[in-house]
């Protein structure tokens, strides 16, 4: 792609994003979609409003904490399940189905159960964990299974044992897949945490969303939703960068 084409692509993309922002502002300002669609500037003003700073800060801390814990636990569990399937192949089919069914269980059904068995505070973390497990498990098992048979043979001929082979071949080969799984898991952890909060966590972005919905606080509702969306975008963006680096390094 030439320099001019690249500039053109960037210009068009920036124009597209600008168009979204301007239409949001215009629609909200003139209430074209009714009173429940606020202007972007009002939403942003609510976010930076000093009076609300404490509220948003506590909510963000809670949600980020749950999402992070869920991300770490979920990644460990998902990775362990995938490794188990590779080390004991007879378990593989059952693990695949278990992951698929766990993914298909409506999270709203788990919420009340988790609140009873864990706690109100633990539910967002637990749901974030579940959301992460599936993504990491699917990506890791796909990655561990792609191993190039030719490389496999080369290492075997060189006298590598199965651990050595896992370390030198299967794991590095799976890293790009794992990075891709983590990239999808990061926003999933944020959604999981927010959903989990709906069931009655003491604080969090999800709580702000639900309470402002019930109290008809439109600007607050949109601010919290925008913060949640930004959180998941940032998580996705950060892991996209990581993925790009891993793919460049290991492929």
């Amino acid at each position: 792609m030439s320099m001019r084409d690249r500039l053109r692509t960037m210009g068009l993309g920036a124009f597209g994003l600008l168009l979204v922002i301007v239409s949001w502002e215009v629609i909200g300002r003139n209430q074209l979609l009714g009173r429940t669609f606020p202007a972007l500037s009002d939403v942003l003003a609510t976010i930076v409003d000093p009076a609300r700073r404490g509220l948003f800060q506590r909510a963000l801390e809670a949600t980020i904490g749950s999402a992070l814990r869920g991300f770490v636990f979920g990644s460990i569990i998902g990775f362990a399940m995938a490794a188990l399937g590779v080390i004991f192949p007879p378990l593989r089919a059952g693990l695949d189905r278990l992951a698929a069914v766990m993914h298909a269980v409506p999270l709203i059904a788990l919420g009340p159960f988790l609140i009873v068995t864990l706690s109100r505070e633990g539910t967002p973390t637990a749901i974030a964990t579940l959301a992460v497990v599936f993504n990491v498990f699917v990506a890791t098992s796909a990655g561990l299974r792609v191993g190039n048979p030719l490389h496999h043979d080369v290492l075997t001929v060189l006298g590598a044992g199965s651990w050595e082979r896992f370390r030198r071949l299967e794991l590095p080969g799976a890293l790009p897949f794992i990075a891709d799984g983590l990239k999808l898991a990061a926003p999933a952890a944020v959604i999981g945490a927010i959903l989990g909060e709906w069931f009655g966590a003491p604080r969090g972005i999800g709580i702000v969303i639900v309470s402002s919905l019930q109290n008809y606080q439109i600007d607050l509702l949109w601010s919290a939703a925008l913060l949640g969306a930004m959180l998941s975008l940032v998580a996705f963006g950060a892991f996209s960068v990581l993925e790009r680096w891993v793919v460049g390094r290991f492929r």
Binding site: L19, G94, V190, I194
Partner: protein, 252 residues
């Protein structure tokens, strides 16, 4: 006899994980001596679903219908915008970056916003399922329109193809397998998103049945709704995966 045994063994090797979870659930309920208002046993839940299917069916129908219509509308819109973007590089350049941003927005977490916008009824549920299925369809169809069989673009050029013929006879058929991937990815998500939306504000559907029966302390029914919903979303996924496989055989 051996065939039955072999069948049972295959079943066990595939479903040991799911069966294990059910067993843990049953044992947990029995040993903890939990009140059935907190957690009903799996046997009680299965019994309720099997003895009173009539209580579930209208809600199954409602959720299925909303998810299906939403999926169809979202996919159709996705194809339409993808084709327009394909026809106009200018439009493609403008639309693609916002689409990428919106695609990573947690739609399910935005349900309350849409509910305030559209009202506490089925329109919101439908809108959610449309949004959920639109972005994958758009992104996958657009890349599919450009993922042509090797050399075929040159053949069409030399044969003197018009752009419309090129779209109809080459680009669109090439995009079919990709589109089916998008449908596979969205089908179960549509069901799950519909459930969340019904849970929050619906007046019908399995998500609504779940909340209502829970508030009535009918826990077996409430968990039954969750169980049926799980089966529904697994079925949606399996059906969509079958469709995708068929399409790959037929189009590639």
């Amino acid at each position: 006899m051996t065939a039955a045994l072999g069948g049972a063994r295959t079943f066990a090797s595939r479903y040991w994980g799911v069966l294990g979870i059910l067993a843990i659930w049953q044992v947990y309920v029995s040993t903890q001596n939990l009140n059935s208002i907190v957690v009903p046993s799996p046997t009680a839940v299965f019994a309720d679903v099997l003895t009173e299917p009539g209580a579930y069916l209208p809600h199954v129908w409602s959720t299925t219908w909303v998810a299906f219509v939403g999926l169809c509308v979202g996919v159709t819109l996705g194809i339409a915008v993808a084709v327009l973007s394909w026809l106009s590089p200018l439009l493609s350049g403008i639309v693609t970056p916002p689409a990428m941003v919106f695609r990573s927005v947690p739609v399910v977490a935005m349900i309350p916003v849409i509910a305030r916008l559209l009202g506490y009824d089925i329109r919101t549920v439908l809108a959610i399922t449309v949004i959920i299925s639109f972005f994958p369809s758009f992104v996958f169809t657009l890349s599919g329109l450009r993922d042509l069989p090797a050399g075929s673009a040159d053949v069409f050029s030399v044969l003197g193809s018009s752009r419309l013929t090129y779209l109809r006879r080459l680009a669109l058929p090439s995009a079919v397998p990709n589109l089916l991937v998008a449908i596979r990815l969205s089908a179960a998500n549509c069901v799950l998103a519909a459930l969340v939306a019904e849970f929050l504000m619906g007046t019908q559907g399995l998500g609504y049945l779940f909340v209502r029966t829970r508030s009535e302390m009918d826990m077996a029914r409430s968990w039954g709704a969750a169980l049926v919903a799980t089966v529904l979303s697994v079925s949606a996924f399996v059906l969509a995966a079958r469709l995708e496989q068929w399409g790959r055989e037929r189009w590639r």
